[in-house]
Every structure is written in C-alpha cells, then in structure tokens.
Subunit: 271 residues, 2 copies
C-alpha cells in the first residue's frame, strides 16, 4: 500500500491546520471546500462525485482495511496522503473518523438546474430554514433513499457542508443534486414555475398524508424545527399535509419527512 506523498505526521503543520479549519463555515465559504469523514462517506464521494474530491487522508491501518478507497482514489487521480492517527484526529470534526477523511469541493448546483430533474422524476424536497444539522442530513439521506429528484436548501438553513450534516447524509449528498444559497421566496417561486405543487409538511395541516395526491410532480416543503413553516410560506403552498399520528403532538422534522418521502416513493411505484 503506497501513498502518493510522504507520511504526514505533524498535527500542527500548516497543511493539517488548513484541513481542520474546514470545520468553520467562514473557511468553507471562502475556500469552497468541505470535510468528508469516515470510510463510507469518502467511498461515496470517490464513487459518485470523484471530480469533486481533492484529497484523501488516511492512516496506515485504514489504508489496509479499506483498500478499495486507495484504489478508487488512484483511479480518480485524487491526491492520497497517509498520515498518523494524531494528524487524522486533528483534522476531523468527529472524535471517531475511523481513520479516513477527505477534502472535497462543494457539490451544489443552482436551484434552476436542480429543478430540471424534477420534471422527469417526480418530486423534490425543499428545506425551508431547517437549522438542525442532524435533521438536514437525515432528510437529504431520505430524499436519496426515496428517489427525490433534488434537494433545495434555503439560504437561511444550516450549511449542508457542516461536518455534522455531511456525516448524517452518509454519502447521499453525492448522489442527488443539492442546491444551496437561494432565498426561500425564490425557491418557492422557482418550484411553482417548474410546475411543481407545493406541499407543506405541517402537523396541523388539513390534508392527511394518505389523502394527498402524490402522483403528480410536487415539492415537499419542510420547515424550521422550532417555528415550523411561517404564515407566508404556508400561504405560498398549495396544500398543508399532516402525517396521521395517534398519540403525541408532533413527530420531529426528520421523522415526518421520512414518512412523507416514503409516501411519494410509494406513489411513484404505483403510478
């Protein structure tokens, strides 16, 4: 197992500092780069978005255990760098990166381009000022699992390149178009112009999920965890749809979204 470059062994070196700094949003924004941690996410990056992969850092132990990553990186001419466990720990956001991190260039596409895919394959997911990294990542993962055409993330939402979001998507970020940086009103307008019906996922919605028509192109609009969707957004939507529940007042955002996206996938299968 050989690396392209000599062993990186100084956790305080400038190179390591530059990678570590990608944990901060300002640095990600300035450089257009972000961190991908753990073998599964790095594998998805190399397999599905190799042209966005810049460098892969891994310990000798991880290189032995994940020989496929070494091969994928070589095949994709991605810079491969062996480093000590101390260096890897200094770079990573998580305490247990399992010996592998990568630096990638942002994978986002603009909203109009993300929406081009929707006409063909049915539905998109719109994150309307979702703030929790775990929720955002889980929704992106669900969008991927249940065949959404794209995910549109409003500019006031959590940064999807936040390491916590990237981790929660477990590579889904590299599978489907994800658009970031557009204000919410513009996203709503673009969806309408693309002919999508806007369905607000809303625990107080009048339409129950089993009664919602999911057979035509639509966008699931998912709101902020604390405030939900504002009046303006609800007015802009064609329908407010609730997941029927038996006992508690509300599911969390990721749970409600998972059920809604699963229903969209089921509607597509039966169409």
């Amino acid at each position: 197992m050989t690396a392209d470059l000599p062993l990186l062994d100084n956790p305080r070196s400038e190179r390591v500092r530059q990678v570590t700094a990608l944990g901060r949003r300002a640095v990600r924004r300035r450089t257009g780069r972000f961190l991908v941690e753990g073998p599964q996410a790095v594998r998805e990056l190399l397999v599905h978005a190799c042209d966005h992969a810049e460098s892969v850092y891994l310990t000798a132990e991880a290189a032995d255990r994940h020989a496929d990553l070494v091969e994928e990186a070589a095949a994709g001419r991605v810079r491969l760098q062996h480093c000590t466990p101390q260096v890897l720990a200094a770079m990573a956001d998580t305490p247990h990166p399992q010996g592998v991190v990568a630096v990638a260039r942002e994978v986002g596409v603009d909203a109009a381009r993300a929406l081009e895919a929707a006409g063909r394959s049915g539905y998109v997911v719109l994150l309307a000022n979702v703030r929790d990294p775990g929720n955002a990542g889980t929704v992106i993962r669900g969008a991927d699992a249940f065949g959404a055409a794209a995910v549109l993330v409003s500019d006031a939402s959590v940064d999807v390149y936040n390491p916590k979001v990237v981790r929660s998507t477990v590579g889904a970020l590299f599978h489907l178009p994800v658009s970031t940086g557009t204000p919410l009103p513009d996203l709503l307008r673009l969806c309408k112009e693309a002919g999508l019906r806007l369905l607000a996922a809303d625990g107080t919605g009048q339409t129950m999920l089993p009664d919602a028509d999911l057979s035509t192109p639509h966008a699931w609009v998912l709101g902020n965890e604390a405030q939900g969707l504002g009046e303006d957004v609800l007015r802009a939507c064609d329908q407010a749809v609730a997941v029927p529940i038996v006992r508690v007042e509300s599911l969390n955002l990721a749970m409600a979204a998972t059920v809604c996206l699963h229903a969209s996938a089921a509607a597509r299968r039966s169409a």
Copy 2:
C-alpha cells in the same frame, strides 16, 4: 411564584452532586432514579407519570415562563425546588436544559405486563440490542406517535434512562409501557407466547413493507445499528420485512423504524 424549599445556590452541594450523578448508568441502576431535562419532557412527566416524579428543579426565569409546570408539580405534590442557573447547569446533562430538570423514578414495567396491552391494540416494538441513544429515543417517540401498545427493550440495548435517550423521546417514555432488562431470547419467546407475529425490520428482507400483513397483532423487531439482527434472531422471526428504497443501501434504524411503525398505524386505521 413560590417554591416549597429555599433557593438552591451551591453547585457543589451534596444535593446537586446527587442529581448530577444520575448522568451515570451505575448510579441510575443503584438508585432507580433518572434525569428528565427541559420543559417539554418535564411537563409530560408531570401530566402522564406524576407518581414517578420525585423533584422538579427550576430557575426563577423558567418558573415564570412555565407556570403550568409549577402548578402541575404542586397539584401532584411533587417537590419543587428553585435553583440558580449555575446549579441547574451543574445538574443537567445537556448544555441547554432551558432552566428545568426533574428527577424521576424508573417508569419501566415488566415485559409480560407490557405485552398484555398488545393483544388489545395491535402491535409492539422490540429493540434488539439497539445501542445508539438517539435511535432508541426516536423509536420510542415513533412508537408513541404511531400507537404501539408497548416498547420492549432487550437488556443489551442502550439504557433508556440515559439522558440522551430521555431527551430524544421528548416525553414519549411517559406515555406508553416500556419494558427493560429482559434478555432478547426471552423477549422473543414472550412475544410469540402472546400470539404476536415477529416481523424483523431488515433492509435485506424478502418481504417488502407494502406486502407485509400488518392487520394482525405483531412485533417489530429492530436490530443493532452496526450488526443488524443476528442469524438467530432472524430465524426466530416469522418474516423479514424491508422498506422499499430507490437509491441507497440502507436507511438508518430510526428512519426505517419510523416508516414501519407508520405502516402499522395505517393498517390499524383501515382495519
């Protein structure tokens, strides 16, 4: 707004230490007590399981903002203790307990008793060595939302009284019977004896969720995040059921469980 007792203002006092110590499993096990943090969870405790509530600790600000908690505690004769924000921070496991924590006595019931409810209302959820606190909490919350009769937690699973689990359930722990401490093989046997069909939620299952018969009493068996369900457990189950997904290899445990439990609730509605 008056409290029963004088202001607690020394974060190093023995009383505060005893509460803080409930963050440790060994102490919870020895005392049979656990921490409940944040106004929503404490409210659910007082409203739904008041006889298990021992003490409520809150800051003056939280007492003003959540007057209902003060009233509920008084009505239930639960000891109410005002404390400084420093004391509250020392007690809580979370960095933002929003000014309220409570100490409660374990709410668990034994497995046989939890299963008595299943005959009537259709289905239970069995956590088979689930280790991640967030997943366990989310599943308990989903079980509550989607009307499960009970949750059975195998003895090798995460401690449901772990503060992270309690937080993720957002009070659901106080709504439905939760059984802990029974070994997995005994839980599987008890479910069978209670006449429940055992459905393994398994991404590689042969039966797709829409084809599974959820109209008769059943138990969803949910496995460990890393290892899934072992061969022994799969053999003990009547059917292995997969959530149909389009693109990625697996949903996380909580997402798959949410979709399965939603399907069980839907089957009960249409029955």
